[in-house]
Amino acid sequence: MPNVTPPKKYNLIGKNYTTGDLYAKVTGKAKYAEDYRADGMLFCKLALSPMPHARVRSIDASAALAMPGVKAILTADDLPAPANSITDNGTVILANPRGYQALTNEPLFQGQPILAVAAIDELTAAEAIEKIKINLEPLPFVVDPLVSLRPGGPNARTDGNAWVRLPPPPPKPGERPPVTPPDLQTVKWTNEDFEDAKSGRLPMGKATEEWHVGDIDAGFKNAALVLDETFVTPNTSHQCLETRTTMAYWQNGKVFVHTGTQSTAQTVPAIARWLGIDQSNVVFISEYTGGGFGSKITGDITLVIPALLSKKVGAPVMMRITREEENYIGRARPSLHGRMKVGFSKEGRITALDMFVICDNGPYDMVGDAFSSGRIVSVLYQPMAMRWRGLTILTNTPPRTSQSSPGGMQGIAIMEPVLAKAARKLGVDQVALRRINAPEGKAPFGPLVAGKQQYATSAFVKEALDRGAEQFKWNERKVNTGKRVGSKVRGVGVSVSSYSGGTIGFDGLFVIKPDGRIYIQSGVGNLGTESWTDVHRVVAELMGVPWDKCDITWGNTSKNLPWTCPSGGSQTTHAMTRAASAVATDAIKKLQEIAAKDLGGKPEDYVVANQRVARKGGGAGLTLAQAAQRAIQLGGKYDGHELPSDINKFTTVSATALAGQGLLAVAKDNYPHDGNTFSFVATFAEVEADVETGQYKILDFLAYADVGTVLHPNALGGQILGRSILGIGHTLGQKWVYDQHYGLPVSKRFHHTKPPTILDIPDKMAWGAVEIPDPETPIGARGIGEPPVGGGCAAIMNALSDALGDEIFRRAPITADVILASLEAGKPMQDPLRANI
């Protein structure tokens, strides 16, 4: 056990409570985007491309526009040009001219929106769409990355098939170099490169990106066991239960947008950029969002369609996105084709790891899944030497984006079956094999940056494995697995998983008003994780104020919200508890100063507790209400008329609007932070398979997380088990199916690629947390949205191979027909490489 700080005793942190949005949700009062109405609201409908790749030769909308009730048409020609964006530190991210736009004249996947029509009602808009003549020129297409890499294989875009990140250009003196879009290149392998495909192994031609650490050749030479395995993960749509429906209108030059988002504050600059308008002209309302999973980090660019139509016609426009449309534009996790060559010592330590992945990117913006998969595998299994190679190949399939644990989940799904097999071959216990390779403390990872590997802030994976194994009774359970009883056979599996768990540098903002209450401004999106409120418990905790004395304003950017992290990649808990600590510290300091001014002595002589600021050890003091009143009289920094210079300008605008209402606390998170923040989870599962039907059932499940301090147990449990099941869906049956000949999808709705249902889970699932605070952040809390996904997926796969042996599957998902066919043949009966089967 490393030297760690024990968790502090808190009053609010770590306790369950009822979140302030729950009553509205459970009574049906909570308003999601499609629940808003506006006077004179029109509706719009989309025309979707029937072809996987085509060019629009002409559009004849005359008959449609002549229909009564039809108000306007919007085509790609009406869209503003893609604009650059600027990060918080001033770095310019140059727009990708080949990035995804809401409408197009060159559809690159079947189902891509070409144009939209606004009309008095949806029926009229749909009829108008049918009257529009779109003349399309079919173009070559490809829906399988390996087919595109073949000699003479088709390219998804007319000018290439592979995204390649170029090294940044040398910076000009005194300037930050801009971030340039990746380069589109044409990559074809030779027939010799494809030789391995004949035996079902992933061919490994020239990669477009690669890194290595240590000497893998020596690592393989010293290995007691070397495995070389190919594995393919599925493409899976995000399938948020709320589609990306949007309602928009304009008033006095400002656009008002209602749509789902994961991140309230961060969506404002995105909307401004997509519409080509100033940020100050955006009002964004999103109090409730029906799930995101990475597909709505800053809302979705599709929102410009109703916004631009609304501008054209001068009336509010509602765009309802159907489930099938959501399948096309609702984004998806990219499939990875992976090949892992892994060397093990006889104890199971990984001596060398050679990882090769091909990411099925879809036709638009480059996703980072290939690169992330290597980074996560590196941090999680700590190989003594590692090489990673990857390609990101374009296909004419719907655009991808980050899905919970982007790249991490796929890397773990490729790696874990290899570890399970190695443990069996070496006769090493599965938990022990993961333990011996587990990261610990400031664990190094990834490629060399300026000659050195980066490292984690902390890692307590061994503790998670030990406590999880004990709670799961691993040692007892593992004894009787793999033995058939009638047609049934049981197996147990363990996996480890990880993902980044937090960012830094955002702002906190609240006002203590003369009524003695604390009015907290939250720029966090409400996508169901409850971090929009949980992170602010830190303010009440540090100020010693009862939670019912705090009010949170959220979900409407006209209400003066602070600059906040994007809620994606498990950032929020970490980033915004830091900001909450910083802003609470600012308030405490201001209260102490006010007390010293009024009551004498030095600020340090005063403490803030029991809704008062009072002399240490008892004596004179002010209530928070009195201090708030004094702050208004004092003005300056106390009531927000003077603001710190380091806060984001988004926060400055909000704080300025709130100035003069009480004691205004505002601060940026400037706490030190040594390392990269990761969270971890050790996952255990038991399954029972029926060798006569091929069906299997999960009997028991435990996910034990290393997330530092626990903020809100019920919300954490929801995240751990909810994202575990998202991952389990990748094992049980979720996947895309494509007709390669026509380039058309077969899976378009829930029942074609069905998420797990309540019947797929075991009777009782459990979770735990090691609760060792992260040493590099004030409250010690890290995020957890991502890690459980790979953990859930891999633990079930490992339990299956424990039950049925190593010759059953070589890709996910693993369905009953695969199990039956493979058992009969005595070898995996899945097509090893073809995409989207």
């Binding site: 369950n16 009574t27 409730y288 996508l527 929801g718 909810g722 309540i758 019947l759």
Partner: protein
């Protein structure tokens, strides 16, 4: 599904009057006079569909109230509830009987309201999430179960799950976890914390038995 689902309404004389006349008459009759939003699922361009609207005025019993509303022949209950009666607590997750987000009770039985034609539920008792709590704000025991357990995440599926549970408990007030899971398995949650959902619904069942 009711056997009169496809039956022509006897009072309909829709072909003889224009839509505008119907709306005018609706307004005159003091019924819900929304702009009569008309909806249709869109298909990939080039695949024709078959519209055909016929409006008429009917009375629905929703959450214990008689509501006059004009509906189209092919109008689904979820659209009537959401766009004509202002009851947006009932959600649309798929509009095609796959997810259960739109579940309401019709004569105490859970139905996917996206797959029920409005004109088939005249003379029936419709209950939505908005009709569960008492007028004084006291929550239904199943709603209280959600509060007790901090159930659900984004909650887009929640009204469907709660209505399905309330309906199921009418036939089996004391279910095991497995029985209740089976009873509400026609509902999808994409945030997928089914374990806590089931715990919240079991708590709701317990609350209901105690009430």
């Amino acid at each position: 599904m009711a056997e009169n689902e496809l039956a022509e309404p006897k009072t309909s004389n829709a072909n003889a009057i224009s839509r505008r006349d119907v709306i005018k008459s609706v307004i005159a009759a003091g019924a819900v006079s929304s702009t009569s939003y008309l909806f249709r699922v869109s298909k990939v361009w080039g695949q024709a569909s078959a519209p055909g609207a016929v409006d008429r005025l009917i009375t629905l019993n929703v959450n214990g109230q008689q509501r006059r509303v004009d509906v189209m022949k092919q109008e689904t209950l979820v659209m009537t509830l959401r766009y004509k009666l202002g009851l947006t607590g009932t959600k649309i997750g798929c509009d095609q009987a796959e997810c259960g987000a739109c579940t309401v009770l019709i004569d105490d039985v859970p139905y996917y309201s996206c797959s029920v034609f409005t004109h088939t539920v005249r003379d029936k008792k419709i209950q939505t999430i908005e009709g569960l709590a008492k007028p004084d704000g006291t929550l239904h025991p199943v709603q209280q179960g959600v509060i007790d357990q901090q159930g659900f995440q984004c909650a887009f599926c929640m009204s469907g799950f709660v209505m399905a549970t309330v309906g199921y408990l009418k036939t089996n007030p004391n279910p095991t976890r497995a029985e209740l899971a089976h009873g509400i398995s026609g509902n999808l949650c994409r945030c997928q914390d089914y374990d806590k959902i089931l715990t919240a619904m079991m708590r709701g069942a317990e609350n209901l038995r105690k009430a």
